[in-house]
């Protein structure tokens, strides 16, 4: 894991001091709420329906046990005993008091954490593949570049007052688990024909009310030029992005209006100018310095197959089901990555209480080289577990209520906080997720349906990623009554696509029925090992639309 040096530590301390001063000026009336708002947002502090919400950065989703314990402490001391892991690999506390926020930031700084740029019209916390450093298909550990980008983008003097927020994601594998095509900038680590390391850069993706997939603007950017290239994209956007209408201010609109070719031309022209200056050249020594922090932990030399695990699977069906669903192959023989579902049946997606956070910290310290990851699907991962230890890990997770064996299944639902917390929402999301989860609770039936990604947003801002759900659910307000539009065919993976609306919007109490109708159509049409997404892509929307119309005409 990356560790702060004296520079990083001082930077975070000075930011806490600056923010404490901003809070004091607000309380003294020297700053209007209109002026304070962007300043507090740039430090992750929102004002929601009932209270302030503090969003803490978890850069590229990587946490140590010590950091997780500190999050548990904060949940206990300053919140109501729980936290909410988000689709951007961060954690949100829903009930902090404004006066406590400087103390929370101090507590975070002690464990090398912060809330810097987790909101606001600036470059946000960088996200990456949650299996980074563990996945067998990895070209390069994406956390190295992510950390380089984190530092370059922190307090960037030119790009802290952009037209709108700006999100960057990095994948180190051809299998895209970081959803790069729906980010403002998406980066894939690649190798060219000569075997040299470089990056493919996409720009202009995003969700919200105008979902778009990013276009490639750089086929192969060499490692030492990557920051200069990113600065070029940012400058074109800062100069030309729309500022007259916040709904048209994201870079995706600029790329769409200019056209991908023209955007590429402008970025290349800007890139050429920046390269002339030379100051943004990334030194090899700095890449190596950061790389050294992400060196593999001291893995043991183990056989690929674990007799202990096999024996446990044979005698314990529940454990076998967990292994079948929640284990991801590791690049080192004898190890596995374990996904911890934060989607218990009927629970709130992404929530964990303080005791659970402590339990995860304990298990990670003992069995996963002290490392934890947060996924953009609102789950956790223990990246490096010996297969010999899987049974013990599963037992410990079971004791903490964290052994739900549903990763990637119909009940592994992404949902935004929705109308239960958020002042932008039109409708509740959490209760819809809970209804669907309860309806499809049966293990055998879930497994029979296979990979099925349901994503729920409580408004058009799409924080719940509904556009890229195999089944997407969007809450809308119709004359004061919550309704839900259902779409099919979205994907955030390397086969990225945007879903299309099928059928009329339904009321909250009919959503689970509608999902069941969709699943029935899938079961009737699927062939071979098709997922619902594959069947939909093959047969089209029509059979689904027909059944939905028939079932939900009133």
């Amino acid at each position: 894991m990356y560790r702060y040096d004296e520079f990083d530590a001082r930077m975070v301390r000075e930011r806490v001091a600056e923010f404490s001063g901003q809070v004091a000026r607000r309380l003294a009336g020297e700053l209007s709420e209109d002026e304070f708002k962007p300043l507090r947002l740039m430090n992750g502090l929102y004002l929601q329906l009932h209270a302030y919400m503090l969003r803490v950065a978890i850069p590229y989703g990587t946490l140590s046990s010590r950091q997780m314990r500190r999050l548990a402490d904060i949940a206990r001391r300053y919140d109501r005993g729980y936290g909410h892991f988000t689709t951007r690999q961060n954690i949100q506390f829903n009930w902090p008091k404004l006066v406590d926020v400087p103390a929370i930031l101090d507590a975070l700084a002690e464990v090398e954490m912060h809330a810097i740029q987790t909101s606001g019209n600036c470059i946000r916390n960088v996200t990456a593949d949650h299996f980074a450093g563990a996945a067998a298909d990895e070209v390069e550990d994406p956390r190295i570049l992510s950390e380089i980008i984190r530092q370059w983008s922190t307090f960037h003097p030119e790009f802290s007052f952009l037209p709108r927020k700006f999100k960057i994601a990095v994948t180190g594998s051809p299998q895209d688990r970081a959803a790069i095509r729906v980010h403002d900038i998406g980066i894939a680590c690649i190798r060219n024909a000569a075997g040299e390391a470089g990056y493919q850069v996409f720009a202009g993706g995003g969700q919200g009310r105008t979902p778009m997939l990013a276009h490639c603007v750089g086929d192969f950017v060499s490692r030492d030029d990557i920051l200069a290239f990113l600065e070029a994209v940012m400058r074109v956007y800062n100069e030309e992005g729309r500022r007259d209408n916040m709904y048209k201010a994201r870079i995706k609109i600029l790329v769409h209006q200019l056209g991908a070719d023209e955007m590429r031309r402008r970025v290349e022209a800007e890139f050429a100018e920046i390269k002339v200056q030379g100051a943004l050249h990334l030194p090899h020594a700095e890449y190596q310095r950061i790389l050294s922090y992400f060196a593999p932990p001291p893995f043991a030399d183990l056989p690929a197959v674990s007799a202990t695990e096999d024996a446990a699977r044979a005698r314990d069906g529940a454990f076998a089901a967990f292994v079948a669903q929640n284990i991801f192959p590791h690049k080192v023989p004898g190890y596995a990555s374990v996904s911890i579902s934060l989607k218990p049946i009927g629970g709130i997606p992404g929530d964990a209480d303080a005791a659970q956070m402590d339990a995860v910290a304990e298990i990670a310290a003992r069995y996963s080289f002290d490392e934890i990851r947060v996924t953009h699907e609102q789950n956790l991962v223990l990246p490096h577990v010996r297969r010999d230890d899987l049974y013990a890990v599963w037992q410990a997770l079971s004791a903490a209520g964290l052994a739900t064996a549903n990763i990637g299944l119909v009940t592994d639902i992404i949902a935004c906080p929705g109308l239960d917390y958020c002042d932008l929402a039109n409708a509740r999301s959490i209760s819809i997720a809970q209804d669907i989860s309860t309806r499809f609770a049966d293990d055998a039936s879930q497994r029979d349906l296979g990979e099925l990604k349901i994503k729920i947003s409580g408004c058009i801002n799409a924080c719940g990623h509904h556009h890229v759900g195999h089944i997407g659910i969007l809450g809308v307000d119709k004359k004061g009554v919550e309704h839900y539009q259902i779409s099919l065919g979205g994907s955030a993976a390397e086969d990225a696509s945007l879903g299309e609306i099928v059928g009329p919007a339904v009321t909250a109490d009919s959503v689970a029925d509608a999902i069941e109708t969709i699943v029935d159509v899938y079961r009737a049409h699927r062939t071979g090992g098709e997922r619902l997404l594959d069947t939909y892509r093959r047969v089209g929307a029509q059979p689904f639309k027909e059944r939905l119309h028939a079932a939900h005409q009133h």
Partner: protein, 163 residues
């Protein structure tokens, strides 16, 4: 209130001249980009320093290079503190266009932005009553180190690490 310096350069004394007002007989003036383009020869013939005001949508790249060479001051307007284009304009004036005159920020901005303004190459400020000398000196001391190169010549943390 006179402009407050945020660099080693002392702010110059200039008179703002509206587009429909005659140029004064003597003294340094600030004119709009439109007037400069329309009355270039007359404006520069006065033998006094000339400054130009750029609105936030006006890129300094639009100024003819020969004009830029003769300008002593570029005033960048910040109509609303959320409009961050001025940061890019300042940066380009310094690092791309090689502008060596004074760059001044004018309009609505917060002390929380002054550190960034200095980094982007801005020399002086004309803000509201809260932009005082005390606020400026506190703002400039916000961060000891910087993570990235900009227009102020400060060594980034990356370079400091690898000396």
């Amino acid at each position: 209130m006179p402009p407050i310096s945020i660099s080693t350069r002392a702010p110059g004394a200039f008179e703002d001249v509206a587009d429909d007002a005659p140029l004064p007989v003597a003294g340094a003036v600030i004119v709009s980009a439109r007037r400069l383009a329309a009355e270039r020869d007359g404006v520069f013939a006065r033998n006094d320093a000339v400054g130009v005001v750029l609105q936030s949508h006006e890129s300094p790249m639009q100024l003819p290079p020969e004009d830029l060479q003769r300008l002593s001051l570029v005033v960048l307007m910040f109509p609303k503190f959320r409009d961050g284009r001025g940061f890019s304009w300042a940066r380009m004036l310094r690092t791309r266009l090689g502008f060596r005159g004074e760059i001044r920020a004018r309009g609505h901005f917060l002390r929380d932005q002054i550190f960034f303004m200095a980094r982007c190459g801005i020399d002086s400020l004309e803000g509201d009553h809260r932009i005082t000398a005390e606020a400026v000196s506190a703002a400039l001391a916000t961060f000891t180190h910087v993570y990235q190169p900009a227009a102020d010549g400060r060594r980034s943390v990356v370079l400091a690490r690898h000396g």
